[in-house]
């Protein structure tokens, strides 16, 4: 198993390198000069050249990539052009916040998704199945920024139960697991959970329906297992796929939460990306994208390892 994990990490390394190259080039492919954002409009050509040299933009691309990669490997993602603070500090704080939000949303989505999925899979073609399926389809198809706004209107504006924006009192940027901060987490987490809930619910429904029709389920009944005993086997058979889907959903949520984080002013990576794009803050943008992409690579690695540990049919080679 350890050999398998090492091998799998070995496979992930070239992927990570490729990702870094794409991240690096993306910014250079984007139209517009990063310096034009910070230089005054009437800057002289001499000043421009000076700045270009200061940021290293005058060197050939491969050299720039080499320097950049070397710095990245040493944890230096450069300084944000807009704020002047180190990108790594900005990104890691945002990643922490996004991770909390994405993990809570995935947890909620996975819990309800598997519940609805099992109900629908077991009660296939009954009214229960139709209700559970309707909930799932709603989850996948509703625009979640819209849902966020609706929830804010109901629970913050009208009922006043929960705060509408931010991650904590007084615009606190550092999330802390206490009750006050939890109240801030509820609305964005619920809003974000509807997509993984829908996807997981549909997947689990199909999985359970498929497993229940397999011969071995009849064989389990034939050896006298109770329905609960059979259920345990169904769960273990469905688990590898369900967990893989959950891992992928967590990845999507980590990177794809720009809309929800903007609606709720949640200081995460999505919020940061949004700001970086509008301020043409290229080092920040580059750093954020790179960190998110690395997250994806790591997550896939983790999902693979967990799946292999759970499903004996996957070769550990």
């Amino acid at each position: 198993m350890i050999l398998f994990i090492l091998k799998r990490i070995g496979y992930a390394a070239p992927v990570a390198l490729g990702v870094s190259l794409v991240c690096f080039l993306l910014v250079h492919l984007a139209p517009g000069d990063p310096l034009s954002a910070i230089l005054p409009v009437d800057a002289t050509a001499e000043m421009q050249a000076q700045m270009r040299a200061a940021y290293g933009f005058d060197k050939p691309l491969p050299v720039q990539y080499g320097i950049w990669l070397w710095k990245v490997l040493h944890g230096d993602l450069g300084n944000s052009i807009a704020t002047g603070r180190p990108v790594l500090a900005e990104v890691s704080r945002a990643v922490g916040n996004s991770l909390i939000l994405a993990a809570s949303a995935t947890l909620i989505g996975f819990t309800f998704g598997t519940f609805f999925g099992f109900v629908a899979g077991y009660a296939r073609d009954s009214w229960l199945d139709r209700v559970a399926s309707a909930v799932a389809v709603f989850g996948v198809s509703v625009p979640h920024y819209w849902l966020g706004i609706v929830l804010v209107i109901i629970f913050s504006a009208n009922l006043g139960w929960l705060p509408p924006t931010g991650a904590g009192p007084q615009g606190s940027g550092n999330w802390w697991p206490d009750l006050e901060h939890l109240r801030y987490l509820v609305l964005p987490a619920v809003t974000m959970s509807v997509i993984p809930m829908g996807v997981i619910s549909r997947t689990v429904r199909a999985l359970v329906g498929d497993i229940l029709h397999q011969d071995f389920v009849q064989a389990l009944r034939a050896k006298g297992l109770s329905e609960f005993g059979v259920f345990r086997h169904v769960v273990k058979n469905a688990a590898p796929t369900a967990i893989a889907i959950m891992g992928l959903q967590l990845g999507y949520l980590l990177g794809g939460s720009i809309l929800v984080e903007t609606v709720f002013a949640w200081p995460g990576t999505g919020f940061l990306l949004n700001a970086a794009i509008f301020q043409r803050d290229l080092p920040l943008l580059q750093g954020t994208i790179l960190v998110l992409a690395m997250f994806f690579v790591t997550l896939n690695l983790l999902v693979d390892v967990v799946q292999t540990a759970l499903d004996p049919r996957i070769e550990r080679a």
Binding site: Q214, D215, F216, Q218, A219, L220, R221, A222, K223, G224, L225, S226, G229, H233, K236, N237, P240, L310, D311, P312, R313
Partner: protein, 335 residues
């Protein structure tokens, strides 16, 4: 080593399985489809019966009905079904679970599909023992090891930790047999247990089953479409067609002196070592009856070369030919 697996109270002559007028209807379509149209069966302890028939004849459905394994919402089982003194159709959930695996066990056609792919085989057997006898998991594993040795799985202790996909087809079927025997059943149902296996492995599995059946005094019902298998394993043969038993008798009688035209057709269409080379196999013309719209009388009449108009006047009565040998055909003796 065999002693603990054997049931002490099995009396040699009591009818262990007693089936009268068994019907199975599949609901859910426009109208119910009668897959089994009134089957009578008796089986004593230590007796092996082969249920012989082609696909769709109702043989597998009959077998599953004996354990009430058919989906309850979509099927209706009628008739009398007594196994080991229990009225199977009246069993409540709990007693049904104890009955399954404890009194009657089943071996499935494809062990590759009938074993849970993500559990170790040893644990799957132990699970049944724990469930039925309230034993600990370790005791269950010990029983599993004993059973693996009984069904002649080489390096049994190591094989207990295998997952199904790590075994060959023949070994999987041995494991399936071990699982079926785990809780000392009195009746063993085998649904085409060798169909999914290689020809050489088939023989080994059949010999093993025959041996176990004799040693443990099991009553066995074999479902098969293979006449050769039926002769090899069974004392008696019941030929099934269109949801009815058309001929029942000792294997010698049914194979040696088939009385029903369908049995004769079935026997004529098999390959034997003396079959002439280069000659097309004999087939029975036509196709099996549509169970949603069955023929009015004898189900075989539309394909039968001996059919007369009277064959459509209702299901033929059983005609006794010898003690224990009977056929449902009004033309028995003709041609």
């Amino acid at each position: 080593m065999n002693a603990p697996l054997r049931h002490p109270e099995v009396a040699a002559d009591a009818a262990l399985v007693h089936v009268r007028g068994l019907t199975v209807d599949f609901l859910g379509g426009r109208k119910p489809v009668r897959a089994v149209g009134g089957v009578d069966l008796d089986l004593k302890a230590g007796e092996a019966l082969a249920l012989l028939g082609e696909s769709g004849s109702g043989k597998s459905v009959t077998l599953r009905a004996l354990m009430r394994l058919l989906p309850e919402k979509r099927t209706r089982i009628g008739g009398t079904l007594r196994i080991d003194g229990q009225d199977v159709l009246a069993l409540r959930k709990k007693s049904l679970a104890a009955f399954r695996g404890g009194t009657v066990a089943m071996i499935f056609q494809d062990p590759g599909l009938a074993l849970d792919p993500v559990y170790r085989i040893g644990d799957q057997i132990a699970e049944a023992v724990v469930r039925h006898e309230g034993a600990s998991h370790a005791q269950g594993r010990a029983r599993a090891l004993e059973l693996f040795e009984r069904v002649q799985i080489p390096s049994a202790a190591r094989r207990l930790d295998n997952y199904p996909h790590e075994m060959s087809g023949g070994m999987r079927q041995r494991a399936m047999i071990a699982l079926a025997l785990a809780c000392r059943p009195k009746v063993l149902l085998a649904d085409e247990p060798t169909t999914a296996l290689d020809a050489t492995v088939q023989i080994q599995i059949l010999l093993l089953l025959r041996e176990l059946q004799r040693d443990l005094g099991l009553a066995v019902i074999f479902v098969t479409h293979d006449v050769g298998v039926a002769v090899q394993v069974a004392d008696r043969v019941a030929v099934m067609y269109g949801g009815h038993l058309v001929e029942v008798g000792s294997s010698g009688e049914v194979i040696g002196a088939p009385a029903h035209p369908y049995t004769r057709g079935l026997l004529a269409s098999r390959i034997t070592p003396d079959s002439p080379k280069g000659v097309r196999l004999v087939t029975i013309p036509g196709s099996p009856p549509d169970l949603a719209d069955p023929p009015p009388g004898c189900p075989f009449a539309p394909r039968c070369t001996l059919a007369v108009p009277a064959c459509d006047d209702g299901l033929p009565e059983r005609v006794a030919l010898a003690p224990g040998h009977a056929a449902r055909c009004i033309r028995v003796g003709a041609a």
